[in-house]
Structures are given as C-alpha cells and as structure tokens.
Symmetry: C2
Subunit: 725 residues, 2 copies
C-alpha cells in the first residue's frame, strides 16, 4: 500500500527534486551525475555516454521513430505506429494484417517491409563546428553564410558516406553554435516479425491520441537483416539476421510508481530557446491562423467531395493530417493558456540580460547581435501571411506536381552537390513516389476548392506582401479585377497532370521541354518558379543570418545558466538523446488526479465493440478469465497496460526504449499527454508527461493473447501460457 | 500527509465498510446504530429520531428544496438555486440581484420573496395506514381502491389542517403498504437575506451541472417571519423573525476526507424498488423515446423561432428544461450502461423469490399478486407511446391553457374535497398564475410546430393506441386523410387564448359558458375532455391496483432482506429522510481519481471571464492575495470549495444541511455527480457521490468577499476580515 499512497501524494502535492526537463546529449550525462543518482539511476552515467557500448548501441533510429535491439539476432522492438507502414505494405483486402495482426512463426515467414524502410545504428558523433564555421564570423551576407554552411556540410557528408552502408548527416546545435557530423550504419533489409491486431496496437485510435488514461498496445517487432558478409544490403532471401554488438535486456518486472526511468531516442525538433517575441507570434498569430486555415480546408474538402465517396477517400489522409494539426494547434494554445509561456520567456530573457550586463565578458557582442536578430525576425514576420499561403499553395496537388517536375528539371542541370536539398540524386526516388502517390490523393474539384481559397486569401493581402509573379499570373493589375474562376478554369481545364501516365511522363524531362509544354499547370510552374527561387533565397538569407545571430543568444544563455549551475541541453534535432525522470502521474486540474498506470480492466471499460474501441474477443476472454500470469502487478491486481513518466520527449522519440535504473528495457515511449503538446516551446514539470506502454503488457499480449512464444524465448522470457490453437 | 494518502487509497482500492445507500426515515436510525457508529457518528442515533428536537427540528422544507435554521432569529440557509426565485423576484433590469448578489445590512432591508414561497417545519409524522387501508384488501376494482385512498387521504388532510398555519399531506410508503400523515408548520412570510453574486452562487452554471470537480458557492440565506403572535402569517411589515425551537450549530472547521457526514432533507422521488421489467422499459424505451422527442422539440423550437429573438426568449426556460432532460436521460442511460441495472434487479428478484418459495409464510399470496402486478404493468406499457404523446400534448401552451380553463370549470361544480387533485380551491391561485405566465412562455408559431409534431407522431401510432375523441377532432375516419395543417390553421387561427386578457377572462367561467364559446381552442378542450377524463380514470385504476399489488412485492422484499439482516428504507417521497456516509472521492474510470475536495485555485483555473465561468474581481483578488483567514485547510493550502461524500440523495435534497459526527453544520448538499444520475433506480456505492458546498467556503465568501458580518455574528462566527468599503 505504501507505494500507491506515495504515488498519490506525488500527484497531488510534491514534485521530484530533480528537473525532468532535458533531452540530453549522451556526452552531457556525467555532468548530471548527482541529479541522475537522486532520481534513482543505479549504473555509472559514464556507461551511457559510449555510443558503441550497452545500452546506447542497442538504440536505433527508423528515420522518423526510435527502436531498439532486443535479441542477439537483430530483433528490433518499436511502436506499432512506427511499424505501421511495414504492416500496411504487407496487407491486402484479403489478408488485412492491420486488422488481424501478424506473427511470423519462424524466420522464413518474416515479411519484407517497404523497400524504403531503414534501421539506423548511430556509430559516431563528431564535432565539426570548426570546419563548418571557419571564417563565417567575417561574413555578413546571409546568403553567403548559408551557402558556405550548405556546401561544407554536403562535402563532409559525402566524405563520410564514402564506402557505402552508412548514412551521414550534419546536425545543427544551438542554432548554429555547434555542428555535429553523425554517422549511422544504414540497414536496408528490414522485415516485419510481429504486430498485434490494430485493436490492441492502435486501441483508442485518434480519439485517444495525446490522451491519458491510455490503453494502447503500441508495440511491434521488426528484424534487421544484412548480407551474408554482415554488411548492410538490399533485401534478398540470401540475407541473414543482423547480429548487433549488444541488445537490451528485457526486465519483465517493469517499473513501479516513483521508480527511475529513462528513454534514449531520436527526438525530432523542439523550440525551447526561441525568443519571447517568437513564442508570442506562435500564440497570437501562427497557431490561430493555421487552425483557422486548416478548419476551412476541412470544410472545403467536405463540401467539394460531398456525394463523391471516391474523392472523399482520396483525401482521407489529408483530412486526418489536418485534424491532427487542429488538435495539435489547439493543444498548444491550451497549454500556452495554462502556462503563460511568453511571460516566462520574457522573465528569463530579462534575468539573463541583467546578468549579462553585469558580466559583459561572458558573451561579448551579445546586445548588438540580439538587436540584429530581433530585426531579422521582425522582417520575416512582416511576410508571414504571404509565407503561410505560399507554402500551403505548393502543397496542393496541382502546384506540388507541376512544381516538383519543373524544379527537378532545373536542379538536374547542376552537379549533384550543388543541387537544392530535396532535389539531389538521392531524392529522385522519393519525388517519383510522390508523383505516383498523387493518384490516390488528388481530385481536381477538391484541389481547386483548396487552391481557390488560398488564392482568394492571397488576393486580400496587403500590397507589401504581394508576389509579383503570382500577381502577373493571376492577371492582377491597376484597376483590373482578377477573374479567379476563369483563371482556375484554365489551370484545371488545360492540364493533363491529373492523369498519372501523363504526369509521370514528365518525370526527368528537360527544363526546356517543360517550358515548351502545352499544359496550363506546367506553364504556371514556369511562370512562378522565379518567385519560388527568390522566396527560397530570401529564406536562406534569414537562415544564414540566424547561423550567426542565434549562437550569440545561446552563448549568452549558456553562460547565464552556467552561472546558476545549470547545464543546457540543445533543442531536439533528430540526434540521439537521453531523457530521465520517474514514473509518476499528475493532476490536470483541481481535484482530478491521474494515476501513473492503467490496467487491463480499463480496456474492458473503454470497449464498445466499435473501432477504435473494439478489443479482440481473445483479449477480452483472457482479461475476464484473469489469465494474468506473472505479468500481473499485485498492487494493481492487474497487468499494467500503459504508464506515465516525467520524461522529456517529442516526435521522433516514438518507439524509444524505456530503461530502468539498471538500463534494462521496461517499456516503450509512444505519446505525450495532452498537457505536453505545448512542451515543444516550454517544458512544464508539473504537467508534462510521457505515455509509455508497459513491458508487462507487451509480454502479456505476446504470451496470453497472441502466443508469440518464439519471440519471448528469443528475448529470454519464459512463456507462461499454452500456445493458442 | 497521512490523511490525504488514506483518502487516496480509499479512492482507488477500498470501499467503506458500511453501505452509504439509504434515505432513511428518522425513526429507522436506531436500527442502524452499529453502522452509524462504524461510519463515525458521535451522537446517540436516538437523538436523530425526535422531530421536535435538535437537529431534526432545525431541518425545514421549501416544497422543492431543503433548508435549515442556523440562528435563533429564524435565519435559514439553503442553496442559491433554491433561493433563485426569491432573488429573481426582487431583481429588475436596473437592480439585477442575480448578477450582483444581495446583502441586507439589517433586518429592515430583508426583501419579501415571491408570495408563494413557503418554509415548512415538520412537526409530526403519523402512521395512518390503518385508516386508509381499512377494507381495501377486499376490493378488487382499481378505481374503487383509488377513490377510497383519495377520499380518506383528503379527509385526513382536511382534519389535520383545521386551525390553519399548517400544511398536511399523506405520504405513500412502499407503494401503498403504509401511509403517513405528515404535519408541517407553514411559514408564509419568507424574506431574502443574502445571496452571493451568481458568479459565485451559480459558478459553472449548466456546464458544470452534475459535474465534479465543482466550484459552486451554491448557498443563500432566507429568513422566516411570523406574525407578532408567533404564528404563521401573510407577509406584513408588522411581522417579526420567527424564533425556531432550535437551530443548527455551525462548525467552521468543516470535515476532512474520511470523516463521517450526514444530510437530513426532503428527497423527492426514487424508483429503487421497481421491477426488472420496469427498469428495462425505462432503459429500452422511456429514456431513449423521451430523449429523441426532446431533441426534436429543441430543433423545432430553434427552427420555428429562428430570426425572432422575442419568440426564442419566451422558450428559453423550456429549452433549458428540455436540455436538462436530455442530459438527465443521457446520464441515466450512461449509468445503466455501466451498471447493468436490469441484470442486477433480476438477480435480486430471483434470489428473493427463491427465498420466498422456501419461506412461503413470509409473504402469503406473493406469487399470485406478483403475477397480477406484471399483468397490470404490461397493460400500461401497451399504451406507453399514446400516454407519452398525450401527456406532452397537454403541456403545450394552447392545450394546457384551454384544458386548465375547461377542467377547472368542471371541477368547480363539485364540493372541494371531491375535486380532482390540482383543481381544488387551494390550487386556483396556481392555475391563475400558470395562465398569466403563458404570456412570457408562449408563441403561437413555436407552439404550433410542437403540437404538429406530437399529432403527427400520434397519427402514426398503431390502431390499438388510438384515442377516439382525438381521432374525431382530427377528422380521422375510414379512408379519410387527416388534413393536419388545415386543422391547425383553425386551432391557432380561431382562438383568442393567445391574448392574455382574453385568456384570463375565461378564468372562473362556468363550464356551460366555455362549452358555448366561439373559440377553437376551448372547443378543442371541450371535445377532448371526455378522453382526458377517461385516460385519467384508466390511470387511476392502475394506481388503485398498484396500491394493492406493490405492497405485496414490498412485503416479500422486506421479509427477504430482513432474513439477510438488512433493513429496507422506503423510496423517496418528499418526506424527511437522513442519509449518512463519509467524505470521499471516487474513481470514474481506470487511472482517474477524483479527490473529494476542490480548492479556491480551481476557481482561478476555470475562470474565463465569460459566464458561467466569470468569477468576480473581488473574489479573484482575495484568492490571489491569499486572504484565506482561518477558513484555510492547511492540508489543501487553500479554502475548500466543494466536497464529495458517499451520501444517498435525490432532487428535493438540494439545500440539505450536511452534519458532522456531532450533528453540526459543515456544508450543504446541492448536486450529485454525473455517475449518480441513474441512482434513482439503483444506488452504486462505488460511483454515486453527493456534491456539497463546504461550510468554510460559505463563511469565507461571506467574510472575505461579501462582508456579511451581521450574519456571521448571528451564526456565532467571528469575522476575520475588515468589512468591504
């Protein structure tokens, strides 16, 4: 009983004595030793800094998610939603693996994932700041700075990737204060081993997305395969399971409320060091504007596809993404409302600047560069409506297809290293895929409705935000009324890009051919391309200046924080990070306490029989018969399903292994609570929680529901239930 | 810390060892002594049985709510929503007491409530079962039984009320097994003393209705006045405050989680002893049907008043009531969904009937009478659609006005004692009020839309549910299509009852005058009255049979429960009852725990500035400056606002004093949680909670926010804050 009451007290009254905030670079952890020990860590923090040793070398990236090795045979565990495309890729109307789940009963049955699926094993992180920044401080032209950073980065990457089998990338730290070159082994033969039914793996679906209490079995297993020589290879039946240098030890006892827990993974992006003015812009303008636009687009998609189920189906993914955006923006705004982020940012900036005035040597030139940064950002903000509409316009079906085709034709004339990011040789497969996919995601009538709305919004902008080429294309002029509908009649009436064969026929065409094309959409792309390039260059200029000016701010901040004895972790940038905290619930509002663990009974409570709350009969039977085995938590009287921990994660961390105080696997991170949505901007210790799937639930599903005995044994877990049928 | 952790454990894991279920007759309490003591009661239960002694003689009724004396000068505390009409009655556009609140700074400033406002002090409960039931068992005609019960009840009431100043009523217990004659002193001069601003008294409004966590200051003060001779009198400036025999002692320390608490009050109606078949009917038919109808009526009101704000305003109260109904029905269905009430009822009935078969002497004739009851109820169910529509029809503006006028004219020809309930002399003021009020609640177009819908539904009914008179009035016949719109053109076009003066002109008219009236609505009432009377007689026949048959069921149940050592409390019937339990939260679903107390900070969290979450600046300032005084709960670090207790209450209990283990006032009951909505049918110990306002919040608002020092002193509470301005 002691345990639960402590947890309950934790929820209501006390805060942990360490700061759960921080996505730490592994190398920073020794600096945090005292805090780690206070939180409960039982291994030497030094052990966590070596990327080539346990446990860090078992933590791998999927590009958009995190995963980890859990057996000597390259078995990889990640979230169900991270393995989603691998499952979907192997599904058909007759054999719906999403619905039914999938279990390979032997190696030979493991299914190849989508050929673009990768597993990345980080093998080296190298500081290349000196190479990249050399002489940059002498430049003051933003475009020149950007060009230098770009060219040097590409050169470093090319050098690093020589020999093949690896992927290298340059990661920007502290806005350009530091650059890291990261090398990752790139495993190209990835196979689907096991996924529970969607009714487990995605239980609660979008309804429960970002929501606690949660009951989602968000886990699945992949396996890394390599050539017989042990090197990364394209998929082949001759390939063999990869033998990782180490793999995570699974601890089937999980963790209890109050226990230490950490996750290692690849968080994508945070904005923790943005200025108060930038946060204010996000709150007052960006989120509300995007939300209003997205809602309008949702209405337009609904009305323009009404009565046409085929068209509606094509926009299902777009609708899901817009809805997700709306929920995210709303969540951010709700979070901001609770926290008064701007005030907090400003307090921090004031305190820091007061300190810097008293300690001018800590960050020389700070004040002047801060002023410049403010000016650059203000210039950028002056064009924000234009940039929003321009960006969304080029995401529409017709603009994106025509734009991609013409842009690629222009970039293909350059040496590969000088091509624009996203249009290099290695990107061509992806561009072709995008052009193919349009078939299933484009309807002229819906696209036109969306484009018409964006252009109408554009036409209403202030003169200062006009784009000359777009005005010219629209036929705007002194005293001339734009006839938008007539323009769109031509754009959609005189293009053949809606036809898949025609569209793909232009893939790889020369720019001169496209310029001569008798196609309204391609002509539009040709007419607007100068503006695309100009706006891109404008934006690169700003980026270049930011490489100069943000580090100045960060130097000031780091010096100030150091004076307070606080190390500074960099914003997330897709590189390997560690976050640590404890298992604990929270109080979302007065008199409501969220316990840190959910139970199997909660699945029964939520079960309606209707997707996304349609638990399988096999699972319901196992619950009602209380076939819990040793996965039961005696205090809960049930198998723990999901749990909460005070950890600092963000998108990209999905699938991250949760490790206990001894660095053993006890679960997987897969979501944040609703209150954490705004944590990209400001981490709130009292409210931000990570949602994880408990290892005991994973093992219980594998054992009592799905009979995945082969995998249990591979992970050294002794099955407790007879294999099904 | 101990306390909170115990409470948290209580929430999650343990149940109290006593049953919180039960609205006990005061006389039953000694039977429950052990359970009361286990729960924590510190006074002799015998003390609670004497209606003429502390504390029971301090608990009074308002007719629709409960209240209590809290000073020797007749000061009465109740809910804000129970004093609502008294506040509204004294409000005007210029002086909006609802918005601003009201505080009389001396006796002379206290404002007379609506003249119909009463305070009832129960002075005697007498068992009159023998008088009423004498010889009834020999009758088998339902109408004859009903007539006997009705006539004998009226005679007893008339006899009891002789001498004036008292209100007597006969209360049916266990469906007619027992009848009690209850005498109450009827205080007719009631004045408004103090009400906080609506932003406190109704904070959260309809949004938070039935919702926990709650932050509503649902309290207000009235005062009972009597003539200089100490006897009840109509309002007069010569009247003086009533000096009650006793009044509740206010304990300003409130109660803590886990503490004993009880409420005494006048719960209106429950259905705890309905049969499984009746509950199934409610779940499968009644709630869904009413909900569907109410939603349709809401849509019709909206569409038929669109663009006409005056009409919309007239239906504001109707809309609120329909919405409240929908929420209630939905809450009931949600509750049923959680509990499987029907199965539980059937289990109980089976167990009981098995026991009765083994113990046939316990309730002789049970089986046969149970069969008869089932038959009677089945007959009634066969007409349920008709009865639903017929009932709603006579609640419409035009039907109700015309029906009241003609019915009254018919009843006025009889001796008062023989008149139908609701049309006796004492009811005439109320009928006139209803006719007057129609001005503010009637719009012909909206009324017609509602009536048309009801009649259309009626026309679709099966032949077995037809009403001949209504068919005739509608012009239905073999092969004749009813022209409903034409009929309604006449009904609404050729009546003057929509006009207030004309309508009231018919009040008190002779039935022959009405029969000769050249008014389409009155003619309709005349045409349909035979059906009204026939259906009424049918329903009285059923009631009469139920007086016979329900007691048979109850005798069986009581005998069975007694065999298990469980006393049986009667269903609520507006008479004085006691419920006891402890202060405790609950878990509405897996991993969510509701703490049993809310805090002032929760008001700040909910505050949006927009009604119903528009806390006053005075209050917000007092909170932010932490002017808590000794009303603070040190464990909470705040003043407790509302609290939860495992108590069994229902409508009518609003305003009931919450008493601690020593029978001192520690709060007021004012609502149930959402999960308790279905508790009218089945009490669920794990989920059903009463929501109460904490006495510390009441006193804090009076002291720190509103400066109600006079009243605090009258209740022997020493003010701690300087009086405002």
């Amino acid at each position: 009983m002691q345990r639960l009451s402590l947890a309950a007290l934790g929820l209501c009254l006390s805060l942990p004595t360490f700061a759960a905030e921080g996505m730490w670079q592994p190398g920073q952890l020794p600096e945090l030793e005292q805090s780690l020990v206070d939180a409960g860590l039982k291994v030497d923090p030094e052990k966590l800094t070596d990327l080539t040793k346990y446990p860090m070398n078992a933590v791998v990236g999927l590009g958009f998610c995190t995963a980890s090795f859990v057996s000597p045979m390259g078995l990889v565990v990640t979230n169900h939603h991270c393995a989603y495309s691998a499952i979907q890729y192997n599904s058909s109307a007759e054999k719906n693996l999403l619905n039914d789940g999938f279990l390979a009963t032997k190696l030979g049955e493991e299914l190849p994932a989508d050929p673009t699926q990768r597993i990345y094993v980080t093998t080296e992180i190298r500081d290349v700041s000196e190479q990249i920044r050399a002489g940059l401080d002498q430049l003051d032209d933003g475009n020149a700075i950007h060009q230098q950073v770009d060219a040097r980065s590409k050169a470093l990457v090319a050098e690093c990737e020589k020999g093949g089998g690896v992927r290298c990338d340059v990661y920007v730290i502290h806005g350009g204060m530091q650059f890291n070159l990261i090398r990752q082994m790139e495993i190209r033969d990835v196979r689907l081993v096991y996924a529970p039914a969607q009714a487990i793996g995605k239980f609660g679906g979008d309804v429960d997305n970002w929501i606690w209490p949660r009951h989602t079995g968000d886990f699945a297993y992949l396996r890394a395969y390599v050539g017989p020589d042990g090197k990364p290879a394209d998929h082949s039946s001759a390939n063999v399971p990869y033998r990782p240098d180490s793999y995570l030890k699974v601890n089937k006892d999980g963790v209890q409320p109050g226990d230490y827990v950490m996750v290692a993974g690849y968080p994508g992006r945070t904005n923790r060091y943005r200025l108060g003015t930038e946060v204010a812009d996000a709150i007052d303008w960006a989120y509300p504007s995007y939300m209003q636009l997205f809602k309008q687009q949702l209405e337009l998609i609904a009305s323009s596809s009404a009565g046409r189920p085929d068209a509606a189906l094509k926009y299902a993914a777009t609708v899901a993404s817009l809805n997700n955006g709306v929920k995210n923006f709303q969540g951010n705004l709700d979070g901001f409302g609770k926290l008064d982020v701007v005030a907090e940012k400003r307090r921090l900036e004031s305190a820091m600047e007061a300190w810097l005035q008293a300690n001018p040597d800590a960050a020389p030139g700070y004040a002047e560069q801060r002023l410049q940064l403010d000016q650059v950002l203000a210039q950028q903000r002056a064009q924000r409506e234009r940039d929003l509409l321009w960006g969304r316009l080029w995401r529409s079906g017709i603009f994106s297809a025509a734009g991609d085709l013409y842009r690629l034709s222009l970039e293909q004339t350059k040496p590969d290293a000088q091509r624009e990011y996203g249009y290099q040789q290695r990107d061509e497969v992806r561009i072709e895929g995008r052009l193919k996919r349009l078939d299933r995601r484009y309807d002229a009538q819906v696209d036109r409705a969306l484009v018409a709305d964006l252009l109408r919004r554009y036409l209403a902008l202030d003169a200062s935000q006009r784009v000359a080429e777009l005005d010219a294309w629209l036929g705007r002029g002194e005293g001339v009324e734009v006839n938008l509908e007539a323009k769109l009649d031509v754009l959609y009436g005189a293009t053949k890009l809606g036809n898949s064969e025609q569209r793909l026929g232009w893939f790889g065409a020369k720019s001169s051919q496209i310029r001569g094309a008798d196609d309204s959409a391609l002509q539009m792309a040709v007419a607007l391309m100068p503006a695309v390039l100009r706006l891109e260059s404008e934006s690169e200029r700003v980026k270049g200046l930011e490489y100069q000016l943000r580090p100045a701010f960060m130097r000031g901040l780091i010096a100030y924080k150091r004076s307070l004895g606080k190390p500074v972790y960099p914003d997330a940038n897709n590189s390997l990070r560690v976050s640590y905290g404890i298992v604990e619930g929270y109080s979302p509002r007065d008199a409501v306490n969220h316990a840190p663990q959910t139970r199997l009974q909660g699945i029964v409570e939520k079960h309606t029989g209707v997707d996304p709350f349609d638990a399988t009969q096999r699972q319901l039977a196992a619950i009602s018969e209380r076939r819990f085995g040793s996965y039961v938590d005696p205090e809960l009287g049930s198998v723990p399903v999901n749990f909460l921990a005070s950890l600092d994660i963000t998108g990209g961390n999905s699938g991250s292994p949760a490790l206990n105080a001894k660095a053993e696997l006890v679960g997987l991170a897969f979501d944040g609570n609703y209150e954490s949505m705004s944590s990209g901007w400001l981490f709130n210790q009292r409210l931000t929680r990570t949602i994880l799937v408990d290892v005991r639930y994973m093992l219980w599903v594998m054992d009592a529901v799905d009979g995945a005995h082969r995998l249990l044994k591979e992970m050294r877990i002794k099955p407790q239930f007879a294999n099904k049928q």
